[in-house]
Amino acid sequence: MFGESVTNEVVKESADLTGKARKDGTLAVGATGILNTSKVGATVKPNNFYGG
């Protein structure tokens, strides 16, 4: 139970960092699809997910 909550916090921290990189325009996707902040591959352009 405790472990699950800690894991969720770590995951959310990672999501926050990804969100910040996305906002800053420094998030990219490499040839295998891996997200990175090393500007390897295509930069992730601004978008809004849509739908229910």
Binding site: T7, N8, V11, K12, S14, A15, T18, G19, K20, R22, K23, L27, A28, V29, A31, T32, G33, I34, L35, G41, A42, T43, V44, K45, P46, N47, N48, F49, Y50, G51, G52
Partner: protein
């Protein structure tokens, strides 16, 4: 009338347009395959949003002379997760395709490179999908139909 017909055609993909998009995807991503039958084209790409993620097979579907491009997660079967979580995966359409951008807000147009828009957004969608599976929360922002459609991208 002829003008309307021209506009309709100009906003749809020719087979050559689709193959040009496929060519760019093939150059930029490692595992890409295509199948075409009677003007319908399916592009399959294997993507892994993080080093810990499974390998996902994505299918981009379009048809000659149609403006729509739909993106599906083919493998693993993510629909099974919907049954565990309120029967709905966030930011998906009824046909199971994933909702990558806000329509009618100039986020995407048929001129755009699929390799530089749809595929990076798909990787991002998969990343947030995995977090949703773990935490129950969609942390990728977005807009739901009926919202005021104020953009909320992170």
């Amino acid at each position: 009338m002829a003008g309307n017909k021209y506009i309709k055609k100009a906003r749809a993909f020719s087979f050559k347009d689709i193959m040009a998009q496929y060519g760019e995807i093939k150059r930029k991503y490692n595992k890409v395959q295509v199948s075409a039958h009677k003007g319908k084209v399916e592009i399959f790409i294997q993507l892994q949003p993080t080093a810990e993620s499974p390998m996902y097979t994505i299918k981009i579907v379009t048809k000659e002379w149609e403006p729509a491009v739909n993106v599906f997660v083919v493998e693993p079967d993510i629909s099974k997760y919907a049954r565990c979580k309120d029967n709905k995966i966030p930011h998906t359409y009824l046909d199971g395709s994933i909702c990558l951008y806000l329509p009618n807000h100039n986020e995407w147009s048929y001129h755009d490179s699929w390799a530089e828009t749809l595929i990076p957004w798909t990787c991002l969608w998969l990343y947030y999908f995995e977090i949703w599976l773990m935490t129950g929360e969609w942390l990728g922002g977005g807009v739901h139909p009926g919202d005021s459609e104020t953009t909320t991208n992170n």
